[in-house]
Symmetry: C2
Subunit: 157 residues, 2 copies
DNA sequence: CCAGATGGTTGTACAGATATAACATTTCGC
DNA sequence: GCGAAATGTTATATCTGTACAACCATCTGG
């Protein structure tokens, strides 16, 4: 099924395939649990939309601009939307006074999108809601919390 | 900010607030990492939609029916959609031959929605895609995997 | 039996998202 | 300079999802 098990089988390994299967099962269960945790138990998207009074993709847009200004094209790619829709989203955010378009100093084809102070505040508000750990995580004891932190860091590479 | 820190402060605890703040910071970082992992790095919704040729809510509908048949109302509640839209979704899935409506034996107001064999296969296909652990998880060594499994179980209560 | 509650459907309206083609402007390689 | 490519916008169409009002059938409690 995967590299490791075939290699083991190929050299007539002493470790039976059962272990590999058990590992896969644990991995599947853990992953499924992580999905349940993030997507079912503690999905805060609705809360963010209500708090900011905008669709989730607009909130996501603001959050992606916190790191710095982007060209329209980069903006569209980051949000996995196509350029025409990016124009609509930025139009809307601009009407709300949350972002502004400015010309690129050297390439006059490009338009840089950046956050206004109000946009920055809105983005931070969204981050605060999304990143607030659920009680289950916050209430872990110090050892478990450290273990989780280490594992997450490892998983993110 | 939370029960523990106030209690500590109240009895003039020897443990300084800094520890509580550090804990909160670790929890926030871990939670943020979990969100990144599930939502940004390994979001398989698109893949499921492409594989099944339907919108994600329809795939979600099929998955919720695997456990057994539901009334239209239960179905709508499980998917967090309103009854009229539930009708549209079931209509569509029925046209595709993936679900069927049958009368309730005793209450003739109710209509039970259940999976057809084809619907069951589609639902299982979706589960397989969604629950396939990403390489980062599958490649953890046995100890880390066990630790993750234990933590996830704990977090899910 | 009758009034009210429940379950499901139909219809309508609208916001959100996605895809495509067409267009003007600007840049860049030749 | 000129044609090709890149960038952003406009327009159009379609699909998806959300919300609300109205309706019919059925059940429940009196």
């Amino acid at each position: 099924m995967n590299r490791k098990s075939t290699a083991t089988a190929a050299r007539g390994g002493t470790v039976p395939d059962v272990d590999e299967a058990a590992r896969a099962e644990i991995a599947a269960r853990a992953w499924q649990g992580l999905r349940t945790l993030v997507l079912d138990r503690h999905d805060r998207r609705r809360e963010v939309c209500d708090a900011l009074g905008m669709s989730f993709i607009r909130a996501k847009a603001l959050r992606h601009l916190v790191a710095g200004e982007l060209t329209m094209r980069q903006f569209a790619e980051r949000l996995a939307i196509d350029p025409p829709y990016a124009t609509l989203v930025v139009d809307d955010l601009q009407r709300r006074g949350l972002v502004l378009r400015s010309p690129h100093p050297s390439d006059r084809r490009l338009r840089m999108v950046s956050l206004t102070p109000a946009g920055t505040r809105a983005a931070e508000s969204a981050e605060r809601i999304l990143n607030r750990p659920p009680a289950a995580v916050a209430d872990l004891d110090a050892a478990d919390l450290a273990a989780l932190d280490r594992l997450v860091a490892k998983l993110l590479g």
